[in-house]
Assembly symmetry: C2
Homo-oligomer: 181 residues x 2
Amino acid sequence: MRILGIDPGLRKTGFGVIDVHGSQLTYIASGTIVVPTEQRLAARLQVILDHIREIAALHQPTHSAVENVFVNMNPHSTLLLGQARGAALCALADSGLEVYEYTALQIKKTIVGRGHADKAQVQHMVQHLLRLNGTPAPDAADALACAICHAHHYPLQQQLQTQQHVSPHLTRTRGGRFIGK
Amino acid sequence: MRILGIDPGLRKTGFGVIDVHGSQLTYIASGTIVVPTEQRLAARLQVILDHIREIAALHQPTHSAVENVFVNMNPHSTLLLGQARGAALCALADSGLEVYEYTALQIKKTIVGRGHADKAQVQHMVQHLLRLNGTPAPDAADALACAICHAHHYPLQQQLQTQQHVSPHLTRTRGGRFIGK
């Protein structure tokens, strides 16, 4: 499983690619798409669209994961971020990838162990989990964290679906484990 | 000049194509892209992306105009609308079109003569201006209204640019007319 993680933003969009073999995570690539601010909005969105399509074509991921954005900000910023996120999702869908979405809370809980970790802690844990020599830049770290989050959650999602299919009488408990009826 | 107007929305995206020869407007096509609601977000955005690209490929517009959305709503709705708008702008940019943006206020003022016209008045005026036999559906009417708005404003924008180029000593007044320094 090769995962392309995206942290969308209109000025900077982070990306990160990892390979997953069992519980083994391998770093493949990461970086930040820096969008020129002096252009018109449509041209800026096209920069995001084109770059993510290029990254997908180059690294051939099998899965994609995108951070669900925080909307408790002013409406104008929310709209701009929504448009950047729309461009990112379009690029992934256009590359034939199914898109999985995770909230910042889920990602931080998975990576750091608690939902209110700061950016530096996420960067540190991403560096540790992927055995990197240096600290990735914040946007790239967030994208890699999103990919790692998907690597953790996806096998469980698959397992739950299979269990539900095999044993329809099992009931899901609050903790996510299954018990017989 | 052939203009593709878009009224973006996550559930329904309106489109309208008109030809402009001098002050003569000719209706070419219009309709509504109805996005299936049961799909995941990325798949829904791809429906918008694909359909607008198809419409652009079919009708070969030379200009595109998109309604600037109203953001005074709840943050979640603003984010969803932003993503739909992002998909629409990506499709237009991907089709090689420069995108012009107009607010609902500008469009209504141009079409109906005042900014607080209701949907029915916009539909009626679009029908009248394009000499249509029937009333276009609301989303298609809004998209056609946006295209008509661009047809009105673009020649003026061009003229102003030319005047500014030819006569750098002219000063723009508040009313948009030029006077010598």
